[in-house]
């Protein structure tokens, strides 16, 4: 027999237990899945470098802005940024993605990008993800793109933060643009810690 329940509100009967629907628990606005994992809120945010940067060894510490194109999407709470150090809006499991575009006229045997994380507000930093590219000498500017990605467990927003680092065998111009995402950082809250 097929039947449909139509109500305006379903509330938990036992305080602190939430409402269970076929092994999915709904409680206080969050969802706990029967197969594991829970999500109390979602967020996505994206920052980008707004000006170009020449370096062979640098943290990105300036010229960062939230993507603000007319159709730029954003979901939930904001990341906050200070001198290139990013703070999460709430504890949780986050996807952190670092997309980098650069160019150089001349060879660079390696060009790297890394995501660094800290669990003690910057006293020590741990390399979480690393990606390498290279550029061959073609007697003209040659472009490259690379991406590093990490899943970050933020258990305390005051201590667990990330920053972004670039290095290369020779100076590379890493592109920054205020009108589109070239070198950019994407944050997505996947679920609860």
């Amino acid at each position: 027999m097929t039947s449909t329940v139509k109500v305006d509100t379903i509330s938990e009967n036992t305080s602190a237990n939430g409402v269970v629907v076929d092994s999915v628990t709904l409680k206080d606005g969050g969802v706990t899945y029967g197969g594991g994992g829970s999500v109390s809120s979602l967020m996505t945010d994206i920052f980008r470098m707004s000006a170009e940067l020449t370096t062979s060894d640098a943290d990105i510490t300036a010229n960062l802005e939230r993507a603000d194109d007319a159709t730029a999407g954003k979901l939930g709470s904001n990341m906050t940024e200070s001198s290139g150090v990013f703070t999460f809006p709430s504890t949780g499991i986050y996807s952190v993605q670092f997309n980098v575009t650069g160019k150089r006229n001349g060879a660079a045997r390696y060009i790297g990008c890394q995501i660094y994380g800290t669990a003690n507000n910057g006293t020590a930093w741990d390399s979480l993800a690393l990606s390498y590219e290279s550029i061959d000498n073609q007697s003209a500017e040659v472009y490259m793109m690379m991406r590093a990605e990490a899943i970050f467990d933020c258990t305390d927003t005051s201590t667990h933060k990330v920053k972004f680092y670039l290095n290369s065998a020779a100076n590379v111009i890493f592109t920054g643009d205020t009108n589109r995402n070239t070198t950019c950082m994407i944050f997505k809250r996947l679920g609860d810690t």
């Binding site: 170009e52 940067l53 020449t54 370096t55 510490t61 300036a62 003209a140 205020t178």
Partner: protein
């Protein structure tokens, strides 16, 4: 940034980004990158100490930026839109040239000289 299709510098940021390394400059209004909005960041990353230090650079004049961009454009034009680029496009590959030098060096000299004559300097 420089013209993506040609690589020809077309903005003073192309000059600024080659003047010094690290994020020593920025824009008061990133949507309006004119000289009046050029700013210097008080701190920049120092690779040796792995931290921020006082920005040691000073703001270039608008004339410096304009002249610097023009110098980059002139250099690009010389490399990409002059006798040099035209000759480069016509020269055989290095491998083919070496092969021709081995087989008939006079024929190689004549070939190269003809390309130079067809695309004179100036």
């Amino acid at each position: 940034m420089s013209d993506i299709k040609t690589g020809r510098p077309n903005h003073i940021e192309d000059y600024l980004v080659q003047l010094h390394t690290q994020q020593w400059f920025g824009w008061a209004d990133s949507k309006n990158k004119i000289y009046a909005n050029l700013i210097l960041h008080p701190k920049i990353y120092d690779a040796s100490s792995k931290g921020l230090v006082n920005n040691p650079h000073s703001k270039p004049s608008e004339a410096d930026c304009t002249a610097g961009l023009k110098a980059l454009q002139d250099a690009w034009d010389l490399e990409n839109d002059s006798y040099k680029s035209k000759r480069r496009a016509e020269y055989p590959s290095i491998g083919d040239q070496l092969d021709e030098i081995f087989k008939d060096i006079d024929a190689w000299k004549n070939r190269i000289q003809a390309i130079k004559d067809a695309n004179p300097k100036g």
